[in-house]
């Protein structure tokens, strides 16, 4: 077993946990399974993490951060609000399909966070981040296209999150990427009618 600094080990273990969830589901995340995936010994796990929970918390935060960052600065401005929304949502979908494991893993982590009192805050921060990103996106588009929104931005942001979440969830079940894109386009057109 190669000798590795603890901070690097932590990163390896977090990445390994991600892969385990992606391949075998949340229930498969045991300390032993994660260590095997990372090519580390069981002892190194508790040398790097005080507990399994600590790993899960860090994994959740990192994955959320990665998703938020991946789509944060990906707002596309076209000559119409409708075109901008379409392009931005298509960009979102590109990031989902580019990293097809991230969303399933995030869903599993969210599901777990909802039932774990110690992680309740993490799930809410996750969705707060979603809403923040959605609000920023809407404001950038409104700015870039020289319009205002005819309904409160937070409400529109929630609708945006609802759409992306719902499309993603449906896609997780049937993996129909074409249908997902069609739906996203349609919703983009719908949301564009709120521009004034």
């Amino acid at each position: 077993m190669p000798r590795v600094p603890a901070t690097e080990r932590r990163r390896q273990l977090v990445a390994a946990a991600f892969r385990v969830i992606a391949k075998e589901g949340f229930a498969a995340v045991t300390t032993r399974r994660v260590c095997a995936e990372a090519g580390a010994s069981l002892a190194s796990f508790h040398y790097c993490f005080a507990s399994k929970q600590e790993l899960l918390t860090e994994l959740t935060e990192q994955t959320v951060a990665a998703l938020v960052e991946a789509q944060a600065s990906k707002v596309h401005i076209r000559d119409s609000v409708q075109g901008s929304l379409r392009a931005t949502l298509r960009e979102y979908w590109a990031t989902v399909e580019a990293e097809p494991d991230r969303e399933p893993v995030l869903m599993a982590l969210t599901q777990h966070a909802l039932n774990e009192p110690t992680l309740a805050g993490v799930a809410q921060q996750q969705y707060a981040a979603y809403h923040r990103t959605a609000r920023t996106t809407l404001e950038i588009i409104a700015d870039g296209c020289g319009v205002t929104w005819s309904v409160p931005v937070p409400q529109l942001a929630r609708m945006l999150v609802v759409v992306t979440d719902g499309v993603t969830l449906a896609w997780l079940v049937d993996r129909d990427g074409a249908a997902a894109l069609t739906a996203l386009d349609a919703f983009a057109d719908q949301l564009a009618t709120y521009a004034r």
Copy 2:
């Protein structure tokens, strides 16, 4: 311990498993925990079920069936398509809030089914049922209001499922019922523009 027919015991155990997931999450569903919740002995579990999986499969099927039935014949016809969609979606939301445990449990079961190869079919049947219900709803409304849909009904049905799923998921995290209703109303108005 009262003496009870095996079929009745099965029912009790399935109901108990539902309550356990609702209260403590999917991970808490152990044979012992379920038996304790049902007030049954551990041995009676494997007298009624060949395995834990058998219980989970039956629970999933029953819960999906209950949800589908609960909203199957709840289509409301108003004098406009917009009004009909609003009323129908509000009715949907009423069933969700009337049985606030069902959706969280279903989410957990879906999540589990996605990672369990033996249950992959169950999750897809679950969503097939959703789409069927959505299609029927759309056709009844179109009939009742004397209009047709300007986009294919299956595509509209998917959008309807996306909206209900997305709204529900967001509500699971922040439990903001008012925001959920606002979003549903807005989406109802949007979908109504597809009527012709």
